[in-house]
Protein backbone atom coordinates (compact mmCIF):
# COMPACT_ATOMS: atom_id res chain seq x y z
CA UNK A 1 0.00 0.00 0.00
CA UNK A 2 2.59 2.48 1.13
CA UNK A 3 5.17 1.36 -1.41
CA UNK A 4 3.23 2.61 -4.44
CA UNK A 5 3.06 6.10 -2.98
CA UNK A 6 6.84 6.41 -3.22
CA UNK A 7 8.53 7.35 -6.41
CA UNK A 8 9.95 4.01 -7.55
CA UNK A 9 13.22 5.14 -9.09
CA UNK A 10 14.69 1.67 -9.70
CA UNK A 11 11.51 0.44 -11.39
CA UNK A 12 11.37 3.48 -13.64
CA UNK A 13 15.02 3.00 -14.49
CA UNK A 14 14.47 -0.59 -15.61
CA UNK A 15 11.48 0.52 -17.67
CA UNK A 16 13.50 3.28 -19.36
CA UNK A 17 16.39 0.91 -20.02
CA UNK A 18 14.09 -1.58 -21.73
CA UNK A 19 12.62 1.17 -23.90
CA UNK A 20 16.10 2.31 -24.82
CA UNK A 21 17.19 -1.24 -25.74
CA UNK A 22 14.12 -1.62 -27.92
CA UNK A 23 14.80 1.74 -29.56
CA UNK A 24 18.44 0.90 -30.31
CA UNK A 25 17.69 -2.62 -31.50
CA UNK A 26 14.93 -1.44 -33.75
CA UNK A 27 17.04 1.38 -35.22
CA UNK A 28 19.87 -1.02 -35.93
CA UNK A 29 17.41 -2.76 -38.24
CA UNK A 30 17.23 -5.84 -36.07
CA UNK A 31 13.49 -6.28 -36.35
CA UNK A 32 10.77 -6.18 -38.93
CA UNK A 33 8.57 -3.19 -39.53
CA UNK A 34 5.90 -4.49 -37.13
CA UNK A 35 8.08 -3.43 -34.26
CA UNK A 36 8.90 0.21 -34.93
CA UNK A 37 11.03 2.01 -32.36
CA UNK A 38 9.17 3.55 -29.42
CA UNK A 39 10.10 6.98 -30.69
CA UNK A 40 8.00 6.29 -33.80
CA UNK A 41 4.92 5.60 -31.65
CA UNK A 42 5.60 8.80 -29.70
CA UNK A 43 6.03 10.73 -32.92
CA UNK A 44 2.70 9.36 -34.18
CA UNK A 45 1.09 10.55 -30.96
CA UNK A 46 2.27 14.09 -31.59
CA UNK A 47 1.07 14.24 -35.19
CA UNK A 48 -1.96 16.53 -35.17
CA UNK A 49 -4.27 14.36 -37.26
CA UNK A 50 -3.41 11.18 -35.30
CA UNK A 51 -3.72 12.99 -31.98
CA UNK A 52 -7.07 14.42 -32.99
CA UNK A 53 -8.33 11.03 -34.11
CA UNK A 54 -7.05 9.41 -30.93
CA UNK A 55 -8.77 12.02 -28.81
CA UNK A 56 -12.09 11.22 -30.44
CA UNK A 57 -11.59 7.49 -29.94
CA UNK A 58 -10.55 8.06 -26.35
CA UNK A 59 -13.75 9.99 -25.70
CA UNK A 60 -15.81 7.14 -27.19
CA UNK A 61 -14.06 4.50 -25.10
CA UNK A 62 -14.28 6.56 -21.93
CA UNK A 63 -18.00 7.18 -22.46
CA UNK A 64 -18.75 3.48 -22.93
CA UNK A 65 -16.56 2.59 -20.00
CA UNK A 66 -18.28 5.05 -17.68
CA UNK A 67 -21.75 4.01 -18.84
CA UNK A 68 -21.05 0.31 -18.44
CA UNK A 69 -19.07 0.54 -15.21
CA UNK A 70 -21.43 2.87 -13.37
CA UNK A 71 -24.53 0.97 -14.44
CA UNK A 72 -22.85 -2.29 -13.45
CA UNK A 73 -22.04 -0.80 -10.04
CA UNK A 74 -25.61 0.36 -9.44
CA UNK A 75 -27.22 -2.88 -10.59
CA UNK A 76 -24.74 -5.20 -8.89
CA UNK A 77 -24.83 -3.40 -5.54
CA UNK A 78 -28.63 -3.41 -5.56
CA UNK A 79 -28.82 -7.07 -6.52
CA UNK A 80 -26.02 -7.98 -4.10
CA UNK A 81 -27.83 -6.38 -1.20
CA UNK A 82 -30.99 -8.33 -1.98
CA UNK A 83 -29.12 -11.61 -2.45
CA UNK A 84 -27.06 -11.02 0.67
CA UNK A 85 -30.10 -10.19 2.77
CA UNK A 86 -32.49 -12.87 1.61
CA UNK A 87 -31.54 -16.54 1.84
CA UNK A 88 -34.44 -17.35 -0.45
CA UNK A 89 -33.36 -14.95 -3.19
CA UNK A 90 -29.85 -16.36 -3.00
CA UNK A 91 -30.84 -20.01 -3.18
CA UNK A 92 -33.10 -19.30 -6.15
CA UNK A 93 -30.29 -17.66 -8.09
CA UNK A 94 -27.35 -19.69 -6.80
CA UNK A 95 -27.24 -22.16 -9.72
CA UNK A 96 -27.35 -19.41 -12.33
CA UNK A 97 -24.60 -17.51 -10.54
CA UNK A 98 -22.38 -20.56 -10.21
CA UNK A 99 -22.82 -21.45 -13.89
CA UNK A 100 -22.32 -18.01 -15.40
CA UNK A 101 -19.63 -16.66 -13.12
CA UNK A 102 -16.72 -18.83 -14.34
CA UNK A 103 -17.59 -18.29 -18.00
CA UNK A 104 -15.16 -15.90 -19.76
CA UNK A 105 -17.25 -12.79 -20.21
CA UNK A 106 -16.12 -12.14 -23.78
CA UNK A 107 -18.12 -15.23 -24.81
CA UNK A 108 -21.22 -13.11 -24.27
CA UNK A 109 -20.23 -10.67 -27.05
CA UNK A 110 -21.74 -12.72 -29.94
CA UNK A 111 -24.94 -13.15 -27.94
CA UNK A 112 -25.09 -9.43 -27.32
CA UNK A 113 -24.54 -8.72 -31.02
CA UNK A 114 -27.42 -11.08 -31.87
CA UNK A 115 -29.75 -9.47 -29.36
CA UNK A 116 -28.74 -5.82 -29.54
CA UNK A 117 -27.06 -5.49 -32.91
CA UNK A 118 -23.86 -3.55 -33.39
CA UNK A 119 -23.52 -0.32 -31.47
CA UNK A 120 -23.07 1.32 -28.10
CA UNK A 121 -25.98 -0.51 -26.46
CA UNK A 122 -24.38 -3.87 -27.16
CA UNK A 123 -20.93 -2.76 -25.99
CA UNK A 124 -22.27 -1.23 -22.80
CA UNK A 125 -24.36 -4.35 -22.16
CA UNK A 126 -21.37 -6.69 -22.29
CA UNK A 127 -19.39 -4.28 -20.10
CA UNK A 128 -22.16 -4.28 -17.52
CA UNK A 129 -22.32 -8.06 -17.65
CA UNK A 130 -18.61 -8.56 -17.09
CA UNK A 131 -18.07 -5.80 -14.55
CA UNK A 132 -21.08 -6.76 -12.47
CA UNK A 133 -19.74 -10.10 -11.22
CA UNK A 134 -17.01 -9.02 -8.83
CA UNK A 135 -19.20 -6.23 -7.46
CA UNK A 136 -22.16 -8.58 -7.03
CA UNK A 137 -20.20 -11.32 -5.27
CA UNK A 138 -18.37 -8.93 -2.97
CA UNK A 139 -21.55 -7.09 -2.06
CA UNK A 140 -23.25 -10.39 -1.19
CA UNK A 141 -20.25 -11.24 0.97
CA UNK A 142 -20.32 -7.87 2.69
CA UNK A 143 -24.00 -8.01 3.51
CA UNK A 144 -23.67 -11.63 4.69
CA UNK A 145 -20.84 -10.71 7.04
CA UNK A 146 -22.85 -7.89 8.55
CA UNK A 147 -22.55 -8.06 12.33
CA UNK A 148 -25.84 -8.97 13.98
CA UNK A 149 -25.11 -6.51 16.79
CA UNK A 150 -24.93 -3.64 14.31
CA UNK A 151 -28.36 -4.47 12.94
CA UNK A 152 -29.74 -4.80 16.46
CA UNK A 153 -28.23 -1.42 17.29
CA UNK A 154 -30.16 0.10 14.42
CA UNK A 155 -33.31 -1.67 15.56
CA UNK A 156 -33.09 -0.59 19.18
CA UNK A 157 -32.81 3.02 17.98
CA UNK A 158 -36.10 2.50 16.19
CA UNK A 159 -34.85 2.20 12.61
CA UNK A 160 -36.96 0.24 10.14
CA UNK A 161 -35.63 -2.23 7.59
CA UNK A 162 -35.05 0.31 4.84
CA UNK A 163 -33.17 2.73 7.06
CA UNK A 164 -31.07 -0.08 8.48
CA UNK A 165 -30.20 -1.02 4.94
CA UNK A 166 -29.04 2.49 4.05
CA UNK A 167 -27.51 3.59 7.32
CA UNK A 168 -26.09 0.33 8.65
CA UNK A 169 -25.83 -2.48 6.10
CA UNK A 170 -24.48 -0.46 3.16
CA UNK A 171 -21.79 1.48 5.04
CA UNK A 172 -20.73 -1.71 6.82
CA UNK A 173 -20.45 -3.49 3.47
CA UNK A 174 -18.68 -0.55 1.81
CA UNK A 175 -15.16 -2.01 2.08
CA UNK A 176 -16.37 -5.19 0.36
CA UNK A 177 -18.17 -3.19 -2.32
CA UNK A 178 -15.02 -1.15 -2.88
CA UNK A 179 -13.03 -4.35 -3.41
CA UNK A 180 -15.54 -5.45 -6.03
CA UNK A 181 -15.38 -2.08 -7.73
CA UNK A 182 -11.59 -2.15 -7.81
CA UNK A 183 -11.53 -5.62 -9.39
CA UNK A 184 -14.21 -4.63 -11.90
CA UNK A 185 -12.52 -1.53 -13.17
CA UNK A 186 -9.92 -3.16 -15.45
CA UNK A 187 -12.46 -5.82 -16.44
CA UNK A 188 -14.82 -3.13 -17.69
CA UNK A 189 -12.03 -1.52 -19.69
CA UNK A 190 -11.07 -4.91 -21.21
CA UNK A 191 -14.65 -5.54 -22.31
CA UNK A 192 -15.08 -2.08 -23.81
CA UNK A 193 -11.84 -2.39 -25.78
CA UNK A 194 -12.55 -5.94 -26.90
CA UNK A 195 -16.08 -5.23 -28.05
CA UNK A 196 -14.80 -2.18 -29.93
CA UNK A 197 -12.34 -4.45 -31.71
CA UNK A 198 -15.01 -7.00 -32.54
CA UNK A 199 -17.89 -4.74 -33.42
CA UNK A 200 -16.92 -1.11 -33.07
CA UNK A 201 -16.88 1.77 -35.51
CA UNK A 202 -14.86 3.95 -33.19
CA UNK A 203 -13.11 3.80 -29.84
CA UNK A 204 -9.54 2.91 -28.91
CA UNK A 205 -10.11 -0.82 -29.46
CA UNK A 206 -11.38 -0.12 -32.94
CA UNK A 207 -8.51 2.27 -33.64
CA UNK A 208 -5.81 -0.17 -32.53
CA UNK A 209 -7.14 -3.00 -34.69
CA UNK A 210 -7.90 -0.73 -37.64
CA UNK A 211 -4.40 0.77 -37.68
CA UNK A 212 -2.90 -2.70 -37.49
CA UNK A 213 -4.95 -3.80 -40.49
CA UNK A 214 -3.99 -0.62 -42.33
CA UNK A 215 -0.32 -1.48 -41.80
CA UNK A 216 0.40 1.53 -39.62
CA UNK A 217 2.05 -0.12 -36.62
CA UNK A 218 3.35 3.17 -35.20
CA UNK A 219 -0.23 4.45 -34.92
CA UNK A 220 -1.32 1.10 -33.48
CA UNK A 221 1.28 1.43 -30.71
CA UNK A 222 0.20 5.01 -30.14
CA UNK A 223 -3.34 3.67 -29.52
CA UNK A 224 -2.01 1.03 -27.15
CA UNK A 225 -0.10 3.69 -25.21
CA UNK A 226 -3.27 5.77 -24.87
CA UNK A 227 -5.41 2.85 -23.68
CA UNK A 228 -2.68 1.87 -21.21
CA UNK A 229 -2.54 5.41 -19.87
CA UNK A 230 -6.34 5.43 -19.61
CA UNK A 231 -6.29 2.26 -17.51
CA UNK A 232 -3.54 3.66 -15.34
CA UNK A 233 -5.30 6.99 -14.82
CA UNK A 234 -8.64 5.35 -14.00
CA UNK A 235 -6.97 3.12 -11.44
CA UNK A 236 -5.16 6.02 -9.80
CA UNK A 237 -8.39 7.97 -9.66
CA UNK A 238 -10.17 5.01 -8.10
CA UNK A 239 -7.50 4.51 -5.45
CA UNK A 240 -7.64 8.20 -4.56
CA UNK A 241 -11.44 8.23 -4.24
CA UNK A 242 -11.41 4.99 -2.25
CA UNK A 243 -8.78 6.28 0.16
CA UNK A 244 -10.97 9.28 0.88
CA UNK A 245 -14.25 7.41 1.16
CA UNK A 246 -12.86 4.63 3.34
CA UNK A 247 -10.46 6.73 5.38
CA UNK A 248 -12.13 5.38 8.54
CA UNK A 249 -11.06 1.89 7.62
CA UNK A 250 -7.32 2.41 7.21
CA UNK A 251 -6.65 2.42 10.92
CA UNK A 252 -8.77 -0.67 11.40
CA UNK A 253 -6.58 -2.50 8.92
CA UNK A 254 -3.46 -1.25 10.62
CA UNK A 255 -4.78 -2.66 13.89
CA UNK A 256 -5.53 -5.95 12.18
CA UNK A 257 -9.20 -5.87 13.03
CA UNK A 258 -10.60 -5.53 9.54
Amino acid sequence: MRADRRFNLAGLGVFAALLLLWELYSRAGGVESYLPPPSAALKALTEPNVARALFGHLAGTLGRFLGGYLLAAALAVAAGVVLGYSRFAYSVSEVIIELLRPMPSVAIIPVAILCLGIGDAMMIAVTIYAAAWPILLNTIDGVRNLDRTLVDTGRTFGLGRVKILWQVALPAAAPYIATGLRVSLPIALILVTTSEMVAGVNGLGFFILDEERSLRPANMYAGIVVVALLGYALNRLFVAVEARALAWKRGLQAKGEA
Partner: protein, 256 residues
Amino acid sequence: MPLLEVDALCKSYDGSAGAATLAIENISFNVERGEFVALVGPSGCGKTTLLMCIAGLAAPSGGRVAVKSQLVDRPPPDLVLVFQEYNRSLFAWRSVLGNVLFGLEAKGRGGKAADERARRLIGLVGLEGFERHYPWQLSGGMQQRVAIARALAYEPEVLLMDEPFGSVDAMTRLELEDALLAIWKELGTTILLVTHDIEEAIYLSDRVHVLARRPSRVVETVAIPLPRPRHQVTTRAEPSFMELRNRIYRRIADAG
Protein backbone atom coordinates in the same frame (compact mmCIF):
# COMPACT_ATOMS: atom_id res chain seq x y z
CA MET B 1 -49.20 1.10 36.08
CA PRO B 2 -45.53 0.02 35.93
CA LEU B 3 -43.55 1.38 33.01
CA LEU B 4 -41.99 -2.00 32.33
CA GLU B 5 -43.57 -5.39 33.07
CA VAL B 6 -41.80 -8.71 32.73
CA ASP B 7 -44.23 -11.52 33.30
CA ALA B 8 -43.30 -15.23 33.53
CA LEU B 9 -40.65 -14.79 30.85
CA CYS B 10 -38.95 -17.93 29.51
CA LYS B 11 -36.35 -18.26 26.79
CA SER B 12 -34.71 -21.35 25.42
CA TYR B 13 -32.19 -21.59 22.60
CA ASP B 14 -32.26 -24.44 20.11
CA GLY B 15 -29.15 -26.50 20.62
CA SER B 16 -27.17 -27.95 17.74
CA ALA B 17 -28.08 -31.57 18.52
CA GLY B 18 -31.74 -30.78 19.06
CA ALA B 19 -31.17 -30.31 22.78
CA ALA B 20 -32.58 -26.93 23.75
CA THR B 21 -30.76 -24.73 26.25
CA LEU B 22 -33.10 -23.17 28.75
CA ALA B 23 -31.50 -19.77 29.36
CA ILE B 24 -34.29 -18.15 31.36
CA GLU B 25 -36.73 -20.27 33.31
CA ASN B 26 -39.35 -17.96 34.70
CA ILE B 27 -38.66 -14.31 35.40
CA SER B 28 -41.19 -11.77 36.57
CA PHE B 29 -40.64 -8.24 37.82
CA ASN B 30 -41.84 -4.71 37.24
CA VAL B 31 -40.00 -1.43 36.91
CA GLU B 32 -41.76 1.79 37.87
CA ARG B 33 -41.33 5.04 36.00
CA GLY B 34 -38.15 6.83 37.05
CA GLU B 35 -36.76 3.87 38.95
CA PHE B 36 -33.18 2.64 38.80
CA VAL B 37 -33.25 -1.14 38.95
CA ALA B 38 -30.25 -3.45 38.84
CA LEU B 39 -30.14 -7.10 37.89
CA VAL B 40 -27.22 -8.97 39.32
CA GLY B 41 -26.22 -12.53 38.58
CA PRO B 42 -23.23 -14.66 37.65
CA SER B 43 -21.87 -14.85 34.11
CA GLY B 44 -23.87 -17.02 31.75
CA CYS B 45 -27.02 -16.83 33.86
CA GLY B 46 -29.07 -15.27 31.06
CA LYS B 47 -28.80 -11.54 31.75
CA THR B 48 -28.07 -10.59 28.14
CA THR B 49 -30.82 -12.91 26.94
CA LEU B 50 -33.28 -11.21 29.26
CA LEU B 51 -32.38 -7.73 28.04
CA MET B 52 -32.62 -8.81 24.41
CA CYS B 53 -36.16 -10.06 25.08
CA ILE B 54 -37.14 -6.85 26.86
CA ALA B 55 -35.68 -4.75 24.02
CA GLY B 56 -37.78 -6.66 21.50
CA LEU B 57 -34.66 -7.99 19.76
CA ALA B 58 -35.28 -11.63 20.67
CA ALA B 59 -38.62 -13.41 20.91
CA PRO B 60 -39.35 -14.99 24.29
CA SER B 61 -40.29 -18.68 24.36
CA GLY B 62 -42.97 -17.98 26.91
CA GLY B 63 -44.41 -15.20 29.02
CA ARG B 64 -44.60 -11.58 28.04
CA VAL B 65 -42.92 -8.19 28.25
CA ALA B 66 -44.84 -4.92 28.18
CA VAL B 67 -43.63 -1.31 28.02
CA LYS B 68 -46.25 1.30 28.93
CA SER B 69 -48.81 -1.54 28.81
CA GLN B 70 -47.89 -2.24 25.20
CA LEU B 71 -46.90 -5.82 24.48
CA VAL B 72 -43.32 -5.93 23.23
CA ASP B 73 -43.20 -7.87 19.97
CA ARG B 74 -40.75 -5.55 18.22
CA PRO B 75 -38.23 -3.00 19.48
CA PRO B 76 -40.35 -0.49 21.40
CA PRO B 77 -39.88 3.21 20.71
CA ASP B 78 -38.68 5.11 23.80
CA LEU B 79 -36.50 2.18 24.82
CA VAL B 80 -32.82 1.72 24.02
CA LEU B 81 -30.41 -1.06 24.87
CA VAL B 82 -26.72 -0.43 25.42
CA PHE B 83 -25.11 -3.65 24.25
CA GLN B 84 -22.57 -5.59 26.25
CA GLU B 85 -20.54 -5.98 23.04
CA TYR B 86 -20.12 -2.23 22.76
CA ASN B 87 -17.23 -2.54 20.29
CA ARG B 88 -19.40 -4.42 17.82
CA SER B 89 -22.23 -1.99 18.34
CA LEU B 90 -20.36 1.17 17.33
CA PHE B 91 -20.41 2.33 13.71
CA ALA B 92 -16.80 2.07 12.58
CA TRP B 93 -17.39 4.52 9.73
CA ARG B 94 -18.69 7.25 12.02
CA SER B 95 -16.57 9.41 14.29
CA VAL B 96 -17.34 9.68 18.01
CA LEU B 97 -19.53 12.68 17.24
CA GLY B 98 -21.16 10.84 14.34
CA ASN B 99 -21.96 7.86 16.53
CA VAL B 100 -23.54 10.01 19.23
CA LEU B 101 -25.43 12.00 16.59
CA PHE B 102 -26.85 8.71 15.30
CA GLY B 103 -29.00 8.50 18.42
CA LEU B 104 -30.38 11.96 17.69
CA GLU B 105 -30.80 11.43 13.95
CA ALA B 106 -32.74 8.27 14.70
CA LYS B 107 -35.20 10.50 16.52
CA GLY B 108 -35.36 12.84 13.55
CA ARG B 109 -33.34 15.54 15.26
CA GLY B 110 -30.53 17.29 13.48
CA GLY B 111 -28.95 20.69 13.01
CA LYS B 112 -27.15 22.85 15.50
CA ALA B 113 -29.20 21.87 18.55
CA ALA B 114 -28.50 18.18 17.98
CA ASP B 115 -24.84 18.91 17.48
CA GLU B 116 -24.63 20.84 20.73
CA ARG B 117 -26.47 18.16 22.64
CA ALA B 118 -24.20 15.43 21.25
CA ARG B 119 -21.13 17.43 22.27
CA ARG B 120 -22.51 17.96 25.75
CA LEU B 121 -23.05 14.20 26.22
CA ILE B 122 -19.58 13.46 24.89
CA GLY B 123 -18.29 15.83 27.56
CA LEU B 124 -20.42 14.19 30.25
CA VAL B 125 -18.88 10.78 29.58
CA GLY B 126 -15.43 12.37 29.63
CA LEU B 127 -14.58 12.23 25.95
CA GLU B 128 -14.22 15.92 25.23
CA GLY B 129 -11.59 16.46 22.56
CA PHE B 130 -12.23 13.07 20.96
CA GLU B 131 -15.22 14.14 18.84
CA ARG B 132 -13.40 13.60 15.56
CA HIS B 133 -11.78 10.29 16.51
CA TYR B 134 -12.95 7.03 15.03
CA PRO B 135 -13.85 4.08 17.30
CA TRP B 136 -10.66 2.17 16.47
CA GLN B 137 -8.62 5.07 17.79
CA LEU B 138 -10.14 4.66 21.26
CA SER B 139 -9.52 2.22 24.09
CA GLY B 140 -12.21 -0.29 25.02
CA GLY B 141 -13.41 1.81 27.93
CA MET B 142 -13.66 4.90 25.75
CA GLN B 143 -15.63 2.99 23.13
CA GLN B 144 -18.01 1.86 25.81
CA ARG B 145 -18.53 5.48 26.84
CA VAL B 146 -19.35 6.42 23.25
CA ALA B 147 -22.04 3.73 23.22
CA ILE B 148 -23.44 5.10 26.49
CA ALA B 149 -23.44 8.69 25.22
CA ARG B 150 -25.16 7.60 22.02
CA ALA B 151 -27.95 5.92 23.97
CA LEU B 152 -28.36 8.89 26.32
CA ALA B 153 -28.55 11.29 23.37
CA TYR B 154 -31.64 9.42 22.21
CA GLU B 155 -33.31 10.36 25.53
CA PRO B 156 -35.19 7.09 25.86
CA GLU B 157 -37.81 6.72 28.57
CA VAL B 158 -36.35 3.33 29.40
CA LEU B 159 -32.63 2.68 29.19
CA LEU B 160 -31.40 -0.90 29.33
CA MET B 161 -27.70 -1.33 30.03
CA ASP B 162 -25.84 -4.61 29.70
CA GLU B 163 -22.73 -4.53 31.92
CA PRO B 164 -21.97 -1.04 30.65
CA PHE B 165 -18.84 -0.55 32.74
CA GLY B 166 -17.39 -3.98 32.11
CA SER B 167 -14.24 -2.86 30.40
CA VAL B 168 -13.32 0.41 32.05
CA ASP B 169 -10.67 0.71 34.71
CA ALA B 170 -11.71 1.01 38.34
CA MET B 171 -11.24 4.77 38.62
CA THR B 172 -13.14 5.56 35.44
CA ARG B 173 -15.80 3.14 36.51
CA LEU B 174 -16.56 5.15 39.65
CA GLU B 175 -16.65 8.37 37.63
CA LEU B 176 -19.01 6.88 35.08
CA GLU B 177 -21.30 5.51 37.77
CA ASP B 178 -21.67 9.00 39.18
CA ALA B 179 -22.10 10.54 35.73
CA LEU B 180 -24.86 8.03 35.03
CA LEU B 181 -26.60 8.83 38.32
CA ALA B 182 -26.40 12.55 37.53
CA ILE B 183 -27.91 12.09 34.08
CA TRP B 184 -30.57 9.74 35.46
CA LYS B 185 -31.57 12.40 37.97
CA GLU B 186 -31.54 15.17 35.37
CA LEU B 187 -33.51 13.38 32.68
CA GLY B 188 -35.76 11.23 34.84
CA THR B 189 -34.92 8.22 32.70
CA THR B 190 -35.96 4.78 33.88
CA ILE B 191 -32.91 2.54 34.00
CA LEU B 192 -32.57 -1.22 34.12
CA LEU B 193 -28.91 -2.11 34.48
CA VAL B 194 -27.37 -5.56 34.36
CA THR B 195 -24.11 -6.29 36.13
CA HIS B 196 -22.19 -9.07 37.81
CA ASP B 197 -20.73 -6.55 40.25
CA ILE B 198 -22.81 -6.69 43.44
CA GLU B 199 -21.46 -3.45 44.89
CA GLU B 200 -22.11 -1.57 41.68
CA ALA B 201 -25.69 -2.85 41.67
CA ILE B 202 -26.23 -1.64 45.24
CA TYR B 203 -24.50 1.70 44.76
CA LEU B 204 -26.55 2.66 41.72
CA SER B 205 -30.01 1.30 42.22
CA ASP B 206 -33.27 1.55 44.13
CA ARG B 207 -33.83 -2.18 43.88
CA VAL B 208 -31.70 -5.18 43.05
CA HIS B 209 -33.09 -8.37 41.54
CA VAL B 210 -30.82 -11.28 42.26
CA LEU B 211 -30.70 -13.92 39.54
CA ALA B 212 -29.73 -17.54 40.06
CA ARG B 213 -27.54 -19.53 37.72
CA ARG B 214 -28.98 -20.87 34.48
CA PRO B 215 -31.82 -21.51 33.95
CA SER B 216 -32.20 -18.21 35.66
CA ARG B 217 -35.02 -16.89 37.76
CA VAL B 218 -35.26 -14.07 40.30
CA VAL B 219 -34.32 -15.62 43.61
CA GLU B 220 -34.66 -12.46 45.64
CA THR B 221 -35.48 -8.80 45.27
CA VAL B 222 -33.61 -6.47 47.58
CA ALA B 223 -34.73 -2.91 48.18
CA ILE B 224 -31.84 -0.45 48.55
CA PRO B 225 -32.87 2.18 51.08
CA LEU B 226 -29.54 4.02 50.97
CA PRO B 227 -30.09 7.79 50.83
CA ARG B 228 -29.36 9.80 47.70
CA PRO B 229 -27.31 11.55 46.49
CA ARG B 230 -24.85 8.74 46.98
CA HIS B 231 -21.16 9.13 47.42
CA GLN B 232 -18.50 6.70 46.31
CA VAL B 233 -16.68 6.84 49.64
CA THR B 234 -19.30 7.47 52.30
CA THR B 235 -22.13 5.40 50.81
CA ARG B 236 -19.91 2.41 50.28
CA ALA B 237 -18.60 2.74 53.84
CA GLU B 238 -22.03 2.64 55.46
CA PRO B 239 -22.76 -0.46 57.55
CA SER B 240 -26.04 -1.02 55.72
CA PHE B 241 -24.12 -1.10 52.42
CA MET B 242 -21.97 -3.92 53.79
CA GLU B 243 -25.01 -5.76 55.06
CA LEU B 244 -26.74 -5.55 51.70
CA ARG B 245 -23.63 -6.73 49.94
CA ASN B 246 -23.20 -9.73 52.22
CA ARG B 247 -26.84 -10.64 51.93
CA ILE B 248 -26.82 -10.59 48.14
CA TYR B 249 -23.50 -12.37 47.96
CA ARG B 250 -24.76 -15.21 50.16
CA ARG B 251 -27.96 -15.44 48.16
CA ILE B 252 -26.05 -15.88 44.89
CA ALA B 253 -23.66 -18.38 46.42
CA ASP B 254 -26.55 -20.43 47.84
CA ALA B 255 -28.48 -20.41 44.58
CA GLY B 256 -25.41 -21.42 42.57
